[in-house]
């Protein structure tokens, strides 16, 4: 029973994945309305030559804050899991 459910869900998932791979636009020719703006204006707006850094820290800086928070969360979680049992 469990095996059948697994096989069915797995095959449905793989069907989705393969469908995605075939239906998606050709590799190497992306639509780029949002990214073109960033490539053109990153230097004048943020003053950085590295456009990826401009995206990471300026255009999508909030994501980076979240990412740094996740790392912080993981550190807090790991140290919490291996804390000493009693306080000295």
């Amino acid at each position: 029973m469990r095996k059948i459910a697994m096989a069915v869900s797995l095959s449905v998932f793989i069907a989705f994945l393969v469908a995605t791979a075939f239906l998606i636009r050709p590799f190497g020719y992306p639509p780029s309305q949002m990214d073109d703006y960033i490539i053109e204006n990153a230097q004048s707006e943020t003053g950085t030559n590295n456009v990826v850094t401009a995206v990471v820290f300026d255009y999508r800086g909030f994501d980076t804050l979240g990412e740094a928070t996740i790392l912080f969360t993981a550190v807090a979680g790991v140290t919490m899991l291996f804390r000493r049992k009693r306080r000295e």
Partner: protein, 153 residues
């Protein structure tokens, strides 16, 4: 603890790893790299020490408590810089055009000027600090935990 050759070599190598990591962090706004990548490189140096000297020996000089303070500090600097733009808006790059890191590079390909980027170099530094402390703390704590023999409970 590994053999003497490994320990000596890692003592020498660690300097290069750290310097390279810091270079990657500080040049994040000009060349490939940035806070995350550089921080991960420095943390890999800590991993090297961990392998060479063993977690217990390393723990004598490097406490996870200090690392977590360093990490909180990095996080605070980062979120503080984001708050700094609050006069206009959160995450506003308020240093572009100002005397500190405020140069605006010429449009198009150019050789690069370190004095650009506004708050981005500071953010790189803060994130680099945070990532190196965070990864080192995770590595250290997990290495200590998996080598500790006695069961606590």
């Amino acid at each position: 603890m590994m053999s003497k050759i490994v320990r000596t070599m890692s003592n020498i190598l660690i300097l290069f790893v750290f310097v390279y990591g810091l270079y990657i962090i500080m040049h994040g706004h000009l060349t490939p790299g940035g806070g995350f990548q550089g921080g991960a490189i420095v943390a890999s140096g800590v991993a090297l020490l961990l392998v060479a000297f063993g977690s217990h020996n390393l723990h004598k000089s490097l406490k996870e408590r200090h690392l977590s303070i360093l990490e909180s500090g990095g996080g605070l600097i980062f979120i503080g810089l984001a708050f700094g733009g609050l006069a206009t808006i959160f995450f506003y790059n308020f240093l572009v055009g100002s005397p500190i890191f405020g140069h605006i590079p010429p449009s198009g390909p150019n050789p690069g000027d370190i004095w650009t980027g506004g708050v981005i170099p500071f953010m790189n530094l803060a994130v680099g600090l945070k990532v190196l402390a965070g990864f080192s703390a995770i590595l250290l704590v997990m290495a200590l935990a998996s080598s500790r023999k006695e069961v606590e409970e």
